[in-house]
Amino acid sequence: MIGAMTTRLIGLFVDDGFLAAAILAVVAVAALLASAAAAPWLAGLILALALPAALAASVALGARRARRET
């Protein structure tokens, strides 16, 4: 049961590896911009533009995979 719970807990956050990696990469770039370049507004802009783009890319990839399988 503990194994199932651990798998389920990880699965809460990571389903599509591409999406999870893209989110973490976007946050890392934003954090870097906010601290190194001292430009929090730019970090905000990156988050607001890149996260919806990551979602769109992940969904498009999922749909393409499904299309190939049919």
Binding site: M5, L12, L19, I23, A43, G44
Partner: protein, 248 residues
């Protein structure tokens, strides 16, 4: 002091997300009750609630000790991972790539499995049945606990988020007790769509705030981000659904 936008969005997100999780837990508990009796179903569910209360009691004081910026960052990133995953799945369901979640089918499957499974009765309690109910409530409940912490902790509104979650659980339990059937008519994918949008918006807002971003409009930016994610999701459905339908 939290404004009305914050209060409504936190309570609403917590209620809607917990409602979906409670519906899924109810389906399993009902299946256990129908297939193996109400004693193990309710015993398993009660034991899971006790375990969840213990988790909350252990985690609660720790949250207060974490600096607010670090808490906002951790919660923001986890909400982005959690919310965008939900939203992605809801979009894929809406365009027909992933099958819609069917509570009736889940109930039938679980009932069949439990009816066929060996009875593990020892000292009068059906342990296999009780463990099934325990696991379902604990797993779905863990998600509810995470959602409550994630939407409530970063603004110090854990009580409000907890009230939203508790209200959802009470509503689902009351309906379940009254109808003794899984809540198949609940538009689960539409709810998951809305919850994914809201949690992603909270995640974006808090991640930015933890990095020092001063969002225009303050907390009202959460609604703007919700509109942004909703717009992107709706556009993806409108774009991809006809293409996939042509191939089918």
């Amino acid at each position: 002091m939290a404004n009305l936008t914050t209060v409504l969005s936190i309570a609403g997100a917590s209620f809607a997300a917990s409602f979906v999780e409670a519906v899924e837990a109810l389906t399993i508990v009902l299946a256990v009750g129908v297939a193996r009796g109400w004693r193990p179903a309710l015993t398993g569910a009660a034991a899971a609630f006790a375990a969840l209360a213990l988790i909350v009691a252990l985690l609660g004081p720790l949250i207060g000790a974490v600096p607010i910026r670090a808490l906002q960052f951790a919660v923001g990133v986890l909400l982005l991972l959690f919310g965008l995953r939900w939203l992605r799945k809801a979009i894929l369901r809406a365009i027909g790539v992933v099958a819609l979640h069917d509570e009736d089918a889940a109930f039938q499957r679980q009932t069949r499995e439990l009816t066929g499974a060996e009875r593990g009765k020892e000292r009068g309690l059906d342990f296999i049945a009780a463990a099934t109910a325990f696991k379902a409530v604990l797993l779905e409940g863990t998600e509810v606990v995470f959602i409550v912490i994630a939407v409530g902790a970063a603004r110090g509104l854990l009580g409000l988020a907890s009230a939203g979650a508790l209200a959802a659980c009470i509503v689902v339990a009351a309906i379940g007790a009254a109808v003794h059937r899984p809540l198949a008519r609940v538009p689960e994918n539409a709810l998951k769509f809305a919850v994914g949008v809201l949690l992603s918006a909270f995640g974006l807002f808090w991640t930015g705030e933890s990095l020092g971003v001063e969002w225009p409009g303050g907390d009202a930016a959460i609604l703007a981000f919700a509109a942004l994610f909703l717009g992107v999701a709706a556009a993806l459905v409108a774009l991809l659904k006809p293409r996939l339908a042509k191939l089918a």
